[in-house]
């Protein structure tokens, strides 16, 4: 009788301990995976902040957020022409990667520009409206369209579909802030005598 009980007991102890260990491991795994997910998410968020949000799709993704997700999973970060050199630098620093030049397969750097429709040539086909990723174009079928300049991201996506080529990308220089001047004082007053 005794050996049988001891056998049961051993089995019980081994079984329960196995169960406990598995449960513990599962808990740990769950926590680890959650952590990884939050890290991933915050990384995506930070990458997305660094991207210029033009939603132009030049990187091959439909929008900046999908590209940010893809970067976080290991895609190259040098496929964003509208972001310019600053974005590449920022992303390289964020991902702890060496700085690479822009991938020429995805376009080239240029200044921020805004789409402008030559309104007397527009035939009202609504193709550009459908192409605009941020709904910055206003107009109806067979009626003139126009771009709301303050909403335009300069993504270029409306230029290609236009059947009459009436959309221009116009270079929009940032409002020129006053030029900073180098200091000059009255030479007689300066504490450092000119030699």
């Amino acid at each position: 009788m005794l050996p049988v009980i001891s056998h049961w007991l051993t089995q019980l102890v081994i079984g329960s301990s196995l169960l406990l260990i598995t449960a513990f491991a599962l808990l740990k795994l769950n926590r680890y995976l959650r952590q990884q997910l939050t890290i991933q998410k915050s990384l995506v968020k930070r990458i997305n902040r660094a991207l210029p949000q033009t939603q132009c799709g030049q990187c091959g993704h439909p929008g900046c957020l999908p590209y940010a997700r893809s970067i976080s999973l290991g895609e190259a970060s040098n496929k964003c022409p509208p972001g310019g050199h600053e974005t590449i630098l920022e992303l390289a620093e964020l991902l702890n990667e060496p700085v690479r030049g822009l991938d020429p397969a995805h376009g080239e750097f240029r200044n921020f520009s805004v789409a402008v429709i030559r309104e007397d040539e527009c035939i009202g086909c609504t193709k550009c409206i459908q192409a605009c990723p941020v709904d910055a174009i206003l107009g109806g079928p067979k009626l003139m369209h126009t771009v709301i300049a303050s909403e335009c991201t300069g993504c270029d996506l409306c230029v290609e579909p236009c059947p009459v080529d009436c959309i221009d990308m116009i270079n929009q220089l940032a409002p020129s802030l006053p030029q900073t001047t180098t200091p000059y004082f009255n030479s007689l007053s300066s504490p450092w005598v000119n030699s």
């Binding site: 210029p52 006053p178 900073t180 200091p183 000059y184």
Partner: protein, 544 residues
């Protein structure tokens, strides 16, 4: 110390109050004697006036006159609406009578050095003025009344910032004001406009200060002036002793002559000992400050009913034969004033706007005087030399000693060079008042202030980019949502059998369609053919 105080009271009188809480600062040679040698002169009316109506930081302009219109002196020409901290309207008045010839962009003697919208007025020389409405007894006016009168007169801060005076009064209404400080500390070399004004018209300034005290409901009114201006101090003391000031509403406080003592926060610290935190407005701490020139403009606006059409401007520099202070009509061009002082144009090296430390080069001598132009310098070749070559920072720490904002200029420089924005913000870059004291003492001639200005610009553009980015992202997400919703709706519509339009509704619907379809089919096909032909022609051109 007491001996010093006795000595000081011997010079300044026993009732004189001193405030000596300064941080940093420098004492450059003042170069103020030349322009103080003569009295203030009112300029003759120039033939052509260029009156700036553009707001420096955007804003909306409402024109009240048209080209070709005959206007009288003091007539309202335009209203500038500025949208910072609530809407504020600043009217612009005609400085003299005449005909408006054009309204166009031109250069203004303003530190932004940008083209602004200006009204060109051809003066007819008659100087026909509108009837003014002087308020003989200002003490009967309510706070709101005074503020609206000041607003109607178009008075803005004459010290340089150009903040509408009435708006400061509105801010005063939001918190209890302990101190009203009248800023007579004109610390920058060359500028003497306020000192000259006090020397000659101190009584009017004191009355203006009293009006401001009444309007801001301040408990004490303090006129702060540097102890190196004996004539102005005497005039002020006389004015304060006069009948107008029987109940001793205003007090005089002398401060040490140390640049930049006249800066708002530095002067508040010196006079009251209170330090204003970053991002706070002095009124939140119960302090409000006005420039002497503003107090004078307020006197004119209330007691004489005169709108703000002139200001006091110093003209100096070695190239001028008779440097002096002018009461200039707004819109006078710089070269007109230079000629009044007798200038040898062949010899002139450059014109500088503002004093020698914070000034910038004047873009063109045709620049028009605006309400914030306090000084113009016609410099000779050896008076202002080109900056010396920049050398490496040797970490001497002189810049930190003189910084009036207690910043660490060399650290800021290092972070500016690496564009480390987080560190720059942590080290208080936006507390830098760009006074140029660090530039002045730097033995390596590093252009520190211009580096900080660049960094400030960089941070501003980065913030703007981030703002744009998040807005665009929001728009993009909304569009995706909208497209998905429309698709779903289309699917559900297909599934549901569309109800046949009833007979009564049918023709109406058709008619509606016809109404929107106002281009006939032939016309449309012609248009499309023409457009296609245009494209072809353009493509051919490109190919060629």
């Amino acid at each position: 110390m007491s001996a010093l105080r006795q000595l000081a009271s011997k010079f300044f009188g026993s009732d004189t109050v001193f405030a000596r809480r300064t941080v940093g600062g420098i004492q450059p040679l003042p170069f103020k004697e030349d322009s103080l040698r003569s009295r203030i002169m009112s300029t003759p009316i120039p033939q052509q006036l260029t009156i700036p109506i553009g707001a420096a930081d955007g804003g909306e302009i409402t024109l009240l006159v048209d080209i070709g219109e005959q206007v009288s002196k003091y007539q309202k020409l335009a209203v500038i609406s500025i949208f910072t901290e609530g809407v504020s309207d600043v009217p612009v008045h005609a400085p003299t009578s005449g005909v408006i010839t054009s309204i166009e962009n031109s250069i203004v003697a303003d530190h932004s050095q940008q083209q602004q919208l200006c009204i060109n007025l051809a003066a007819d020389g008659h100087d026909e003025a509108l009837q003014l409405e002087p308020q003989s007894n200002y003490s009967l006016l309510s706070r709101v009344n005074i503020a609206s009168l000041i607003r109607d007169a178009g008075v803005i801060g004459m010290g340089g910032a150009g903040f509408p005076a009435a708006d400061k009064l509105r801010l005063c209404g939001e918190s209890a004001i302990e101190f009203l400080i009248i800023n007579a500390a004109e610390c920058e070399p060359y500028i003497t406009a306020d000192e000259a004004l006090l020397r000659e018209r101190a009584e009017k300034v004191v009355v203006g200060a009293e009006i401001l005290k009444q309007a801001s409901a301040a408990r004490r009114c303090i006129i702060a002036i540097e102890d190196t201006k004996p004539d102005a101090i005497d005039a002020l003391k006389q004015a304060l002793k006069s009948e107008m000031n029987l109940d001793q509403t205003c007090e005089l406080v002398l401060i040490p002559s140390k640049y930049p003592a006249g800066s708002e926060r530095q002067l508040i610290k010196c006079v009251t000992g209170i330090e204003i935190a970053t991002g706070q407005h002095p009124t939140e701490n119960g302090i409000v400050m006005y420039n002497v020139g503003t107090a004078y403009a307020v006197y004119e606006a209330i007691v004489e009913g005169k709108p703000c059409v002139s200001r006091f401007t110093t003209l100096c520099g070695q190239e001028l034969k008779t440097p002096k202070n002018f009461e200039v009509l707004i819109g006078t061009t710089a070269d007109f004033l230079f000629e009044l002082c007798g200038i040898e144009t062949s010899n002139k090296q450059k014109s500088i706007l503002g004093g020698s430390l914070m000034g910038s080069e004047l873009g063109s001598d045709k620049a028009a005087i605006c309400k914030t132009t306090n000084c113009l310098i016609a410099a000779s070749a050896d008076e202002f030399q080109a900056p010396q070559a920049e050398q490496a920072c040797i970490r001497c720490g002189f810049c930190a000693d003189v910084c009036p904002s207690k910043l660490l200029p060399q650290q800021l420089l290092a972070f500016s060079k690496t564009a480390d924005t987080t560190q720059l913000l942590e080290h208080g870059l936006f507390d830098c008042i760009e006074c140029g004291a660090c530039d002045y003492v730097c033995p390596s001639h590093i252009p520190l202030v211009s580096t900080y200005k660049e960094s400030k610009k960089l941070i501003a553009t980065r913030r703007q980019d981030l703002e744009h980015g998040s807005y665009w992202q929001q728009r993009f997400q909304f569009r995706q949502y909208r497209v998905k919703k429309e698709k779903d709706q289309a699917v559900s519509r297909k599934v549901a059998v569309p109800a046949k339009p009833t007979l009564a509704a049918g023709p109406a619907v058709k008619q509606q369609n016809k109404k929107t379809d106002f281009i006939s089919k032939e016309q449309a096909s012609l248009d499309i053919a023409a457009a296609v032909a245009r494209v072809k022609a353009r493509r051919d051109e490109k190919n060629q």
